[in-house]
């Protein structure tokens, strides 16, 4: 008899399914679905600002505020940057461009290259968040709040939210998370908080460590695990050859490897 593989993929096979269900149970909203208003869903999304991934993102912004002030950026401009761009790698690239006295066009190109990854991320996110009556303009406005953390949280949680409530739920996550981190940056400036290098090293390490675990956990089929492993392996190899396009090529080639795997596993299942 064929058993459906558990959605956790590779390493979950062989574990009893109740363990899996138990793990999933605390990630979903607990109130009955029909009785909840839009405001209530918005607030559930906003409440995720207190979740571990959101707290990790805030510590990353503490690190960013330190980096920005080291480079002589005033508080208001650093906070404005976080709210207007809302992508930490792009912020860091822009500060590098400012420090290197790049022209505005060269700075825009450098930032644009670091932000291309948002296009496939948002494209993959749209089917997750779209409800039956979602207007394109709400998606365009909300897309500003999609960056890695909100993307990973959304991919994990949106499937447990009724389709017509997903937009408000994500608005709750995105708007609150962006506002909170803008305030965190301002606060670090106001307190002129400085930490020993060891603390900054730990703060900078939190983000990749968190993404590593949560990206694996957010996958619902094995193709995501294949894509993730190929991205991890391809990046250093491509970086050595073409450092200017390392992320882009990692995405493109990692995608091809994954599609080859999907085709191969389908072909194997058919025979």
């Amino acid at each position: 008899m064929m058993k459906r593989p558990p959605p956790g993929g590779l390493f979950l096979e062989g574990r009893s399914s109740w363990v899996y269900r138990l793990c999933m149970a605390d990630s979903g909203p607990s109130l009955p679905v029909e009785s909840r208003t839009k405001l209530s869903w918005f607030l559930s999304g906003a409440a995720l600002t207190g979740s571990i991934p959101a707290l990790i993102l805030m510590t990353a912004h503490v690190g960013f505020a330190g980096f920005a002030s080291e480079n002589g950026l005033p508080m208001i401009q650093a906070a404005f940057m976080v709210a207007a761009i809302w992508a930490l790698p792009a912020n860091i690239v822009l500060i590098g461009a400012i420090a290197g006295d790049y022209s505005i066009v060269a700075a825009a190109i450098a930032v644009g290259l670091s932000s291309i990854r948002l296009m496939p991320m948002v494209a993959a996110f749209v089917p997750e968040i779209r409800g039956p009556n979602t207007r394109r303009i709400s998606l365009l406005l909300l897309s500003h709040f999609i960056a890695i953390t909100a993307w990973v949280i959304g991919m994990e949680r949106l499937k447990n939210v009724p389709a017509e409530m997903r937009v408000v739920f994500f608005a709750g996550i995105g708007i609150t998370l962006t506002t909170a981190n803008t305030l965190v940056v301002a606060l670090v400036y106001l307190l002129s908080a400085s930490f020993p290098p060891l603390v900054f090293a730990c703060l900078f390490f939190l983000t990749p460590m968190y993404f590593l675990a949560s990206l694996w956990g957010s996958a619902r089929d094995r193709s995501i695990h294949v894509a993730m492993v190929s991205g991890l392996i391809l990046f250093p190899a491509i970086h050595a050859v073409a450092p200017a396009y390392d992320l882009l090529l990692t995405g493109a080639i990692g995608g091809l490897v994954t599609m080859a795997y999907v085709r191969w596993s389908k072909g194997r299942a058919a025979t």
């Binding site: 761009i85 394109r136 897309s143 190929s230």
Partner: protein, 114 residues
């Protein structure tokens, strides 16, 4: 025109908008337009999701292998060992993200202090 070209108060904000916000959000808007055209269970969506996941994995690799700021001074082998141990801890100790993060951080701190 660089950051230091003009000394008016609004120039830095315009610079951030033109060189930061515009080249970032334009990709998000394009993503919405593309995502609106792929249907839920098409192969195209699997492909888009695969590219997005590989990119995020690339960002993770970048943050571990070529970090900026204070982390850049630590040894590469230490960062790799901490990340690998944290990820294994996540996989084999009940799949809790916080467990993986704490193990990775603990090894990093231990390595930096020793």
């Amino acid at each position: 025109m660089t950051w230091h070209s003009l000394t008016t108060w609004w120039w830095p904000y315009l610079f951030i908008l033109l060189a930061g916000w515009l080249p970032t959000d334009i990709w998000r808007f394009l993503g919405v337009l593309i995502g609106g055209r792929v249907s839920e269970d098409s192969e195209a969506l699997v492909a888009v999701r695969a590219v997005a996941t590989a990119l995020v994995a690339g960002v993770i690799a970048q943050l571990v292998l070529y970090p900026s700021g204070a982390l850049a001074e630590s040894a590469l082998s230490l960062r790799l060992a901490a990340a690998a141990a944290g990820f294994c801890g996540y996989l084999y100790l009940g799949r809790r993200v916080i467990v993986g993060v704490l193990i990775g951080e603990a090894i990093l701190v231990a390595g930096l202090l020793l």
